[in-house]
Symmetry: D2
Subunit: 374 residues, 4 copies
């Protein structure tokens, strides 16, 4: 089985997330990065592509899509790792030519773009994989499996949060700059950048959808054009209630994504910064620490773990699991079969839900945190 030929849009020399995608694609050796349009600046696109030893370097993604689609051994899949506002236009070009898309989140910078992209994906034979990477962590899969199998009973309460502190003050470096510019990031600031992760994680783990929410968003740093703190109350289908907090101005928090789910039979708690642990309390019994690949971990976690318990896997391995699931699905397509039922990755529908979440937060906050439906 040959490696999947992969291209990349965005991810030039000084980008952050592009490098993460490349490592993620490499860890399990299922992809080979051969082509790229790594920057909208031609010189940077060339230099970045050469540094990565790419076989084919392009100046823009449309040209790349056209050319690669014509090549006998052109790319089979493309990773889109640009700022948010470019996702739609770039993804569309590859989808329409049958090239599988692996796209960073949030799906798009506007709800209108998201809806158009859903249509483009539906019209295409290609797969669409969204890198809501936290769903790749083994213990997140474990939590989902335990909830699905009824181990905590009917879900009542979901507490999810994603605080950071890197935007506590006004910042002007590259990562901060585009993420606080609504033209490039979309209308949501912290809600778009990390709130969507929290929303996605809560839904993934519980298997529930948010029906409505009430959001109180703030831009605490003077002059900031998008929210840097979001307080959101959630109502899930079926009656569960939740709270979501995202913040970029909470000193002492790095990437403190955390989810807690409580049902009538038990509770589960997971924190991204210590991802190899899942706390499980069957009601009326002592709390238990389930570890990745350790006693008590089940199949869903096991199939995305690489090494023994006590040797921590981290963010890159969780991210790699999304790529490896994509590889599983792509190879099944190659073979003309269905992928194994255990294969699981965030879809364009998840992406649409994420953009709806951002949109609902912004709408609610503009109406004094009134309840709005997603």
């Amino acid at each position: 089985m040959t490696r999947i030929r992969l291209g990349m849009v965005g991810g030039g020399n000084d980008a952050f997330i592009g490098g993460v995608h490349r490592i993620a694609a490499r860890i399990d050796d299922r992809f080979e990065l051969v082509a790229g349009a790594l920057s909208s600046t031609p010189e940077k696109a060339q230099a970045s592509g050469q540094a990565l030893r790419l076989e084919r370097i392009y100046d823009d993604f449309k040209q790349m899509a056209i050319r690669e689609a014509r090549l006998k051994n052109g790319i089979e899949a493309v990773s889109i790792v640009t700022p948010n506002h470019v996702h739609y236009a770039a993804a569309r070009e590859f989808l329409k030519r049958g090239i599988h898309v692996i796209c960073d989140k949030p799906l798009t910078s506007t709800l209108a773009d998201a809806k158009k992209l859903v249509k483009a994906a539906e019209a295409s034979d290609a797969l669409f994989v969204l890198t809501h990477n936290y769903t790749g962590y083994p213990m997140v899969r474990q939590a989902r499996e335990m909830i699905a199998s009824g181990q905590i009973g009917n879900i009542r309460v979901v507490q999810v949060e994603y605080p950071q502190d890197w935007l506590t003050q006004d910042e002007t470096f590259k990562q901060a700059e585009w993420r606080t510019d609504p033209a490039r990031s979309g209308a949501g600031g912290s809600t778009g950048d990390i709130g969507t992760h929290a929303h996605n994680l809560a839904c993934f783990v519980t298997g529930l959808r948010v029906e409505s929410l009430a959001a109180d968003l703030d831009a605490f740093v003077p002059g900031r054009q998008v929210d840097d703190n979001g307080h959101v109350m959630l109502r899930f289908e079926g009656g569960a209630k939740g709270m979501l907090w995202c913040s970029q101005v909470a000193p002492g928090n790095e990437n403190a994504l955390r989810v807690r789910v409580y049902g009538d039979k038990g509770g589960l708690e997971w924190a991204q910064e210590d991802p190899n642990y899942l706390w499980y309390t069957p009601f009326g019994e002592p709390k238990r620490l389930i570890t990745r690949n350790g006693s008590g971990a089940g199949d869903a976690a096991g199939r995305v773990s690489r090494i023994p318990p006590g040797h921590p896997e981290g963010y890159l391995e969780g991210f790699a699991n999304i790529y490896t699931e994509a590889a599983n699905a792509i190879e099944a397509r190659r073979a003309g079969t269905e992928s194994d039922s255990a294969v699981m990755y965030p879809t364009i529908q998840d992406g649409l839900r994420g953009v709806q979440f951002i949109d609902a937060c912004v709408r609610s906050s503009q109406r004094n945190a009134a309840w709005v439906t997603l």
Copy 2:
């Protein structure tokens, strides 16, 4: 200096909080419990009083107030540890006779009672101390002192929560029974029993008042008449925002009261179950662990600590600090002086704010979590 002669209303044999108050009053040896109306059932009042070796045992609190006020060496202070609906009537009797009152929280079971009790206290020369006991923890005092001195800058975000799991299922034992009966506990369930603690803690630590809130309350256990889970968004005076979560149906949580405060210069985090630790992050520097009586702890914590760092003090010592502060104030009254400016205890105004908080939560929730002012 003789010990302060103390009486008690409520707290008979099978009560929980009465025993806590008695230990708290004993730890620093400033009080002597000499009289009590420990139960509304005469036989139980007698048996409980004898078991405690009380000098004077009463069948009802009004008789006790009348008699003790007339005695030359009658009680100087009374602890009221009954279910909530009795607080008002009992406290009034002692206040009107100049006997200092130490009353459990919440202040009363209704807002109307709370307002009347405030008037009664204002009309009395006696002191009124409310046992919002978590304000007695040394590291809570430390947090308040650090915030007041500007160490975390202007406050932006306050996250406070108090989850428990003991009412995850329908329960009929004594403690559960009256706490889920609105006639005795008041209109708030989890909001009244523990949400008030969370509200009080957030306000105490930050020095800020909640101006308005939006609350989504639920009674998840079938048949329960009061809320067992509360999700609340908070707006503080001056622009800070907060979230408050209280729950009695979150398996794996015992008394997981926790407060986190973030300003433009730093952050603080404290958890009641590990009360000797305070996490402090000056923005841009590593997180620091400040320990009770350890390096980095200041005067406000030091004056309410008893033993060296690393030897944990707990809930009873924190509770005792409220009693000891009450003793400081009462002894100053005896002496006709002002108590030291460092002396600090929850007042009847704090109690009124707490009942307003419960009332606002209930009103908001009835209006689909609309914003209401306190």
Copy 3:
């Protein structure tokens, strides 16, 4: 039932452990402190006694023992809280007059004294209780109960440690001064002050005796006359092996006493600074967190707990449990009965073992850490 009349030797105004004993004696209201020889300096003895409102104040312990023994309502028990070198002489006077002794650890400053005191105790009708207070923590009792019932199987490995940092530099304040003076503390420094606690805890929890040890002791601070760091390998009866580390020069450690026990069926871990938690791993299953008074805690812990899980009890409550066990035993003596079989406190034999431990450490270290028997 009247309170037990208690006297105290040592524990004047600027002492540390005397105050701890007094709070411990008060918490459960079983004792009444009525007499004391609180200092060998008469003025200080008077002032300290008056501050504590003692009924009878003495200048020296021998006079106190003689007088109290003659009084109709003289003390029934005495707490000895002096520096170590006074324990023997003081305890002897009370034992010989039938007054129960509650003595701080280590038992004596020399092995010769310890042996003489054992004989004095055997010759007396009075009880002897040693305040190896860590055995009073509920979760330590829980660990002992679980091991005794076979839940971790045959014990193979015991890791115990007690690091502190307060003597990292040369110190001259009172607590440091006598504890680093071999004439008053005995030949062991860290081994005597805290190593004995670690040794006692390991033996209490496992129910095993140390048969032999090899100790490498150091005085790292220039000029220090007693060890401030001890590394000890242990061999227990029955074949279990252990390591013990005590240190007063380990920056970042306050009172980090910790014990871990591993058998062929499971493991247990407990840390004094977070005393309400006991970690239990049945081999091949997830680790479990047993909490004081929470699910999974048994009778041995329950009978020495006061408040619900999640409301931490601390050092003073654990210390109080020793006093309350002493009260249980003393009241049984009063009644002419045996105390309940669950009553448990450190005895003079435990004290002798502790002094033998110190002596063995010093002997071993002098012989280049050769193995010596206790």
Copy 4:
């Protein structure tokens, strides 16, 4: 710059550590695995090589060394990931032909082999890199840097431990089987497999060598031929003292490698299972949590970190750092230059010290834990 052409000896389909080496070599994309002698069973060697898409598959390592050395584009480096007893013979073949060797630890199964291999390496122009992988963790580098710069002062005490539980019972699966067979693993069991890691980590972090040790080793599981628990007291050059504990029979421990170092100015603590954290206490100040790539982390950690703080890197990234350091050194050789002075990897001398450590433990234990020099 082309990728370094890499071969592998051992690491067939059902091996554990071979897969780890391959991921580690891939993460930073500096190597390309092109050839292998993955098993001593020809069929398995073929099948494993094909599964990995190797260009050249060999049945035995000697043949591979000979052939690759003659190829124009033969391998530049080889990873040796066999059981311990094969390391010497395999490494020798490649060293003598100038092919760089990256070898798993311990260096060899006997001290005699280790000494011969040192000579072989000295006689070769090729580099020798030993995968004591824990030295690749960024926060381990951070600790080393802080100690070297004097931040904790003169080192007094080093506590290091590596407990596991996977051999608590008798096990017969592949990993357990060869690791408990002295013919393949060497005379040390837990001491060889994990004790060497602990020893290496302590020395790496402190920059000190162990001069002598006293070891009490046990084989607790009936019939086991090598130690499964080791208790070791250490004496370092310069007067620091230490304890080392390794165990494979400690239920509840997965890979709980942990090192604590205390000097006269401060202390450091690091645990492998939570590797992104380093605890630092300057004496007399609050404990600080230094995080990978976070505030307070320095250059030594920064140059081996990939992603922002709060996104955990794990075991594979730490392991990859050893490979990337090897690549740095190999590329410098290609270029005929010295590698950057910051480049750092475990050498054959570290490997010799590790085998001397095992040998000393076994010798000491056979002599009733007498002190022996390394």
